[in-house]
Amino acid sequence: MDAQTPLFPSAFDVKSPKGAEGWEELYPYYTRFQPARRKEDDEKFWFCNSQHWPNPLRPFDVIFLDFAIKCLGQYNSRHLMIPPANGIDYRILNGFVYFSPVAVAPEDIEARVPQFLERAGHYFGNWNELLDNWKKKVAGATAELEALSFAPLPDVVPLEWIKEGRGLDNTNEIFETYEKAIELSYKIWQYHFEFLNLGYAAYLDFFGFVKEQFPTIPDQAIAKMVQGVDSELFRPDDELKKLSRLAVELGVDEALMTGSVEQSLAAVAALPNGAKWLAAWTEAQDPWFNFTSGNGFYSTDKYWKDHLDIPLGYMRDYIPRVKDGETIERPTARLLTERDRITAEYREMMDEEAQEVFDGKLGLSRTVFPYVEDHNFYIEHWALGVFWRKMRELSKLLSEAGFWPEEDGMFFLNRNEVRDVLWDYCASWAIGTPNVGSAIWPDEIARRRDLLTALGSETPLPALNNPPEVITEPFTIMLWGITSDAIDRWVGGADDTDGLQGMAAAPGTVEGIARVLRSPDQLSELQKGEILVTPVTAPSWAPVFGKIGAAVTDIGGMMSHAAIVCREYGLPAVTGTGNASARIKTGMRLRVDGNTGKVTILD
């Protein structure tokens, strides 16, 4: 490849969308492509991570981009010493996130091997014990987060404080609580990656071995051998199914079918068995309604717990199905039998020696892989959900203090600007003047809102500059499916006029009508049998998988959420098409081939 003619443009040649000029100041200097470092940044290959950040980031939301990337990197480069891979460098361009894996210099790889063996070996060797401890750490941090609260400053410092001679006011608590929330979420992000890289490494090892045995084996078949059926990610949906069935059994189902959440619950309460059902409903919420319709990375994420209309809406789909005598529960026994059959049939085709190796690698993969799925519930759904709830509390408090008219105004400030606002709030309270921010932020937030809308009006470029010869970072391969094929698709994607190519992520072929969704708020628009087309899905969308015919996503690899859920539900899925949600329009007739990864627009 001629270095003079990169496959993808340089970040420095990419124009801002109309109306988004000046977007750069929304984000910290270290997240931007800086002209002073053009040479270095142009030499790297950057791919757009629209799987985790499908929409332009609000300034505050950079917090989890920062934490995620830093914490991912630390485990590769400082804790475990993954021999060939350091972290992932990141930039924001036009509001979207670009990643570039950082390789270890070839001459330094060997020296890291003994360290890796000792450190990673310790984790693999004590996996379950360490994982139990991990769950305690995460639960502890989450409980600490949950205990935080923000109270408006009182008119006067409490009299007891005066009498006990405390000598401090209520502002300390606001500053401390804000810092504490950030610190806890930072810890939680470190825990997030403590086991994850290792889980992927073991899975990749198994994956590579099976591919060597059967070069043409579909990736999804390998995934099926390892994937569990009792992941905690499925629990929230399972709980809704249980609640739906219980509602029918207790005769409170009709009451749940109409009205607002409050009206439904009140109607249930008035029924003879209402209290029993409501007790079950309340019990299920902790922790299982800590479930986001997004991915936990955005302040806009809607958690079931805060939006009970979402789970109730899903139950309104389930209840009539229960009454029709349908089995809405996941066929876990069948899925397990199927997993065993697939595993045994491939194993049978290997020679004896290979079978032994296969057993070892499969065993390790099955031990470590549940973490890869489960962590998502504990971190993104549960812990981060609590963090966002606390931050919304604070944003509302500051809104009431006059800093901005809308409750979500704070998220248009970055986390350091919020520190300034807190100072402004506390200082003006002490001084006895109106705060300055009230005169500044409403207009500035309105301006930033428009900037973000402008940024969101254009689909990001899939990549920048030239792809490297080798990608060694396990996440890049596993999660984002960045392979030569994927890059070829991005380059040649525009040529195919009646179809799109993606990853064959879950088997089967289906024809149907497309429903393009750009946000989880639109989920209720989905009609039975339609093909869901979307930039990216989240595990909490599980209930809609019961009624769609197939799923097509713009981004995502074999282990992306859509892929996992579709295999679980026996639906065809094509992931990582690049731009399906832009090229396909609601109402088009599609043929989705989850075996070849081809999506054809039929008319």
Binding site: Q220, K224, E345, A354
Partner: protein
Amino acid sequence: MSKGLYTLDFSEIGTEDHDRVGGKCASLGDMTQAGVAVPPGFAVTTDAYAEMLKHHGLQAEIERHLKGVDPDDLDSVDRAAQAIRIRIRSHHLPESVEAAIRVAYAEMGEGMPVAVRSSATAEDMPDASFAGQQDTYLWVKGGDDVVAKVRDCWASLYTTRAVAYREKNKISHIDVLMSVGVQKMVNAKTAGVAMTLDPVTGDRTRIVIDASWGLGELVVSGIVTPDNYTVEKILMEVIDRKISDKHVELVGDAALGEAVEREVEEARRKVQCVSDAEIIAIATLAKQLEKQKKCPQDIEWAIDADLPEGQNLLALQSRPETVWSQKKKDGAKKTYSTGMMGIVSTLNSALKVKT
């Protein structure tokens, strides 16, 4: 009821009969026993053939013709082979043999169109692939014709190619006995072959299916380019399909009493000739046969236009795949890195990305 000496219904063929019904019929017998749908029919046993030779003293005659044949001189082989075929065809079948065939055929329904095919005892041996060297007669109707075609099959044991092959491979001519299968003609809507491995790469995770309109003979002989489907064997999913221009088909003409080749009309030419459900049914059948026979199989199948959906897929033949199955495994033992070193080596040789 004791089993017939000269004929055996497919449903009666047991393992102990394999030697006297030949590979093809033995396999049809196995399939019937195992619950695989095959077109009904019967085998004319090698005892019938032996009786024919004995009754007319043909053995001596054959030996006399073959004496002094030079296997490298194709003309001499051809002369001897022709003479033997003429001798075999010039005799009536022994009465007892002919009666048995007529009875067995009548049981299938008088006037039933049948295929009459040779089922040589050596033909389908995994290590001697000279399938297709003996004749097959399609759309045969009526007892007289069936009897005549059985005799033609026997004669086809002495085609020039077959004689030359046995001479070259030092196979005793007289020891090769022939059984003949008489089987109901399939009224094939579509037909073709299926292999339980990829014939191009030997990949055992795949089932490769060729399919075309009408009877399968045009697929086997290569006159028509069939549709080609690849099914992943374990997931049982269609992973590749190549749809061809299938310009001709062979269909049974009941009035003419024969299969006739005819043009396929434009609308059907370039469309998939089997549904996805049918592809999976064919693959399932192939996989079942592979499992039963414990080695990769090469299967002929057809979908019968007269039978109801779900019961219309018939297995016509199943034989061991001979090319890849005999390839020697790589001599050098593979070494694998296991445990932590496996992970290190995986991380260090991660996926290459093309530039």
